[in-house]
Amino acid sequence: MSTLVEVQDLCKTFDVSAPWLERTLERKPRQFVHAVDGVSFAIARGRTLALVGESGCGKSTVARLLVGLYGPTRGSVRFDGQETGPLLKSAEAPKLRRRMQMIFQDPYASLNPRWRVRDIVAEPLREHGILRDRGALQVRVGELLRQVGLAPADASKFPHQFSGGQRQRISIARALATQPEFLVCDEPTSALDVSVQAQVLNIMKDLQREQGLTYLFISHNLAVVRHVSDDVGVMYLGRLVELAPKKTLFAMPRHPYTRMLLDAIPDIHMTGRARTPVQGEVPNPLNPPSGCAFHPRCPHANARCGAERPQLIPREGVQVACHAVEEGRI
């Protein structure tokens, strides 16, 4: 299977320093957040990689880096063998952008309320000069809407006439307009009710099967991730701590953080089960712990974990960044 997207040592640092005057008067240092800190992974064509983690772990930043909404501080993103950084600045950029699209979390904010659905879905077609003829546009928009389970007649309505799930389907139709190969989905169902979430997830899976789409799926919901993904990357404070095929990750989580996350999910099929108590919370990303960022919460931490940052080490098809796993302590 060929690799479609490859990410090497991706870093993104945000400057969150106080304003210059305040900094000078109060002698505050400059401050940086390492939102994404050395993330590497690859996604094969037609597969789904999910990134999970708690708020502030950098998963949405990775999504935005991939489609070029942010430029990386360091590292590279390769799409179909070509590095996207220089390409996005060249005249070839529209060609690349056509091949990857993004679906955002909030379907109430990502659709222009003053545009009709027809214009929203047709915008990428017009923008990329794929179709100009009005009649052809109308036919294509109808087709796209039908693909996501809406009616062609819905094209003349406004976004407010739709429910949350239907709006998210409009976003999907818009993303599909340019016939992309790669879709980046940033929490596409987090704002939706479960029954509606099921509709959207089913459509996304159907589309992948029919059109061979490749997905990067960002979510904090492990049950959803388990349902849609092939591979799962777990992030903690800007770093990947574990990257494994879905089955392996859920059957045999290795990193202590992954184990903790899995223990923490309330599951409807285990009524009355006592959970392992979870300790502590995600530290301030402005001042992350030394060594392994998880060590203050980790039951297996020792002196090495506090001092030395663990690298992602591949072993039996799974990549884990943990000294305890590497040393065979757990």
């Binding site: 708690e54 708020s55 429910s163 949350g164 799930g165 239907q166 009710d193 479960v194 029954s195 509606v196 979430q197 099921a198 509709q199 997830l201 089913n202 899976k205 904090h220 492990l222 049950a223 959803v224 388990r226 349902h227 859920f250 903790m260 996350l261 223990d263 923490a264 999910i265 309330p266 599951d267 409807i268 099929h269 285990m270 009524t271 009355g272 089960r273 959970r275 108590p277 979870v278 919370e281 995600v282």
Partner: protein, 326 residues
């Protein structure tokens, strides 16, 4: 056990220019001391509204049009605003979704706690502070002696929600109404807050009404659960039965649409369509246009809650089933 909270035939209306909207209709349930009742449903089903009606915080022009709310046998739905305010805090504690908007950012956490404690309990400042520290400790805040003098912005989301819970518990209320207390939080923090709520019900005998859209949270926390749909209770019963053997087609669809952690399914069960708007609730059973098992009676006559196996369901499929002895 004698129920602490009794809601009987509660009906909430919103008068608008285009006629009166019936937001809650015929809601009846009870909660016993030490029991946790979960209320689930999708957005707009009326679950938060039920909580708001019970604690007397309905947003105008919403009003209780019929029915009764009894706390320990005494009607509280007819009380005026002042009397209700005394009950809230003293006898009913409320926890809302967003911990940041429930706290005053200009006051220290301690000052807010002490103020609440002194409003409801006859304690002097030093005793109240003592109690505030104790409450923070009970809700799992490390080093409460130091944290009490900090401001809400110095707390993280999970810690803030603990402070809000501590506030709700300040006067040892016997009923806690928690509206999506963990929705704004990460899973690892959510687990801690759930454990805390459960502890309060078990150890202190508090009755808890937990409103959430997360079935996982319900499964882990509650004793009984009410599934709401379009302003009515569709099913009410013990949590295990409602989750594993739901009697109402809507509950069945809802459970099937949740991706599970322990089984593989290519497709999720989906309920086509969406919940009707309040101004367009269909005749008969509100779920009938989306129901896979709909028949003639559903389109004409509205079902009441009726016994269906070990739960109660508002569904004509179970008409007559109640007479069968089990």
């Amino acid at each position: 056990m004698k129920p602490l909270l009794e809601v009987k035939k509660l009906r909430v209306e919103f008068p608008t220019r285009h006629g009166t909207l019936l937001a809650l209709d015929d809601i009846s349930f009870t909660i016993a001391p030490g029991e946790i009742l979960g209320v689930v449903g999708e957005s707009g089903a009326g679950k938060s509204l039920t909580g708001a009606a019970i604690i007397g915080l309905l947003e105008p022009p919403g009003r209780i049009a019929a029915g009764q709310v009894l706390l320990d046998g005494r009607r509280i739905d007819e009380l005026d605003a002042d009397a209700m305010r005394k009950i809230r805090g003293k006898q009913i504690g409320a926890v809302f979704q967003d911990p940041l908007t429930s706290l005053n950012p200009l006051y220290t956490v301690g000052r807010q706690l002490v103020e609440t404690i002194q409003t409801h309990l006859p304690l002097n400042a030093a005793q109240a502070r003592e109690r505030a520290i104790e409450l923070l400790r009970q809700t799992g805040i490390p080093a409460p002696e130091a944290r009490i003098d900090q401001y809400p912005h110095q707390f993280s989301g999970g810690m803030r929600q603990r402070v809000v819970i501590a506030l709700a518990l300040a006067a040892e209320p016997r009923l806690i109404v928690a509206d999506e207390p963990t929705t704004a939080l990460d899973v690892s923090i959510q687990a801690q807050i759930i454990a805390l709520l459960r502890h309060l019900a078990r150890e202190k005998g508090a009755a808890v009404m937990l409103v959430t859209h997360d079935m996982g949270v319900i499964a882990e926390t509650c004793d009984r659960v009410a599934v709401m749909y379009a302003g009515r209770i569709a099913e009410l019963g013990p949590v295990h039965e409602v989750i594993h053997a739901p009697a109402h087609p809507y509950s069945r669809g809802l459970m099937g649409s949740i991706p599970a952690m322990d089984e593989d399914r290519e497709r999720l069960l989906q309920i086509d369509g969406a919940m009707p708007r309040l101004n367009a609730i269909p005749r008969g059973c509100a779920f009938n246009p989306r129901c896979p098992q709909v028949f003639e009676r559903c389109r004409v006559e509205r079902p009441e809650l009726m016994p269906a196996g070990r739960t109660q369901a508002a569904c004509w499929l179970h008409a007559g089933a109640g007479e069968v002895p089990r």
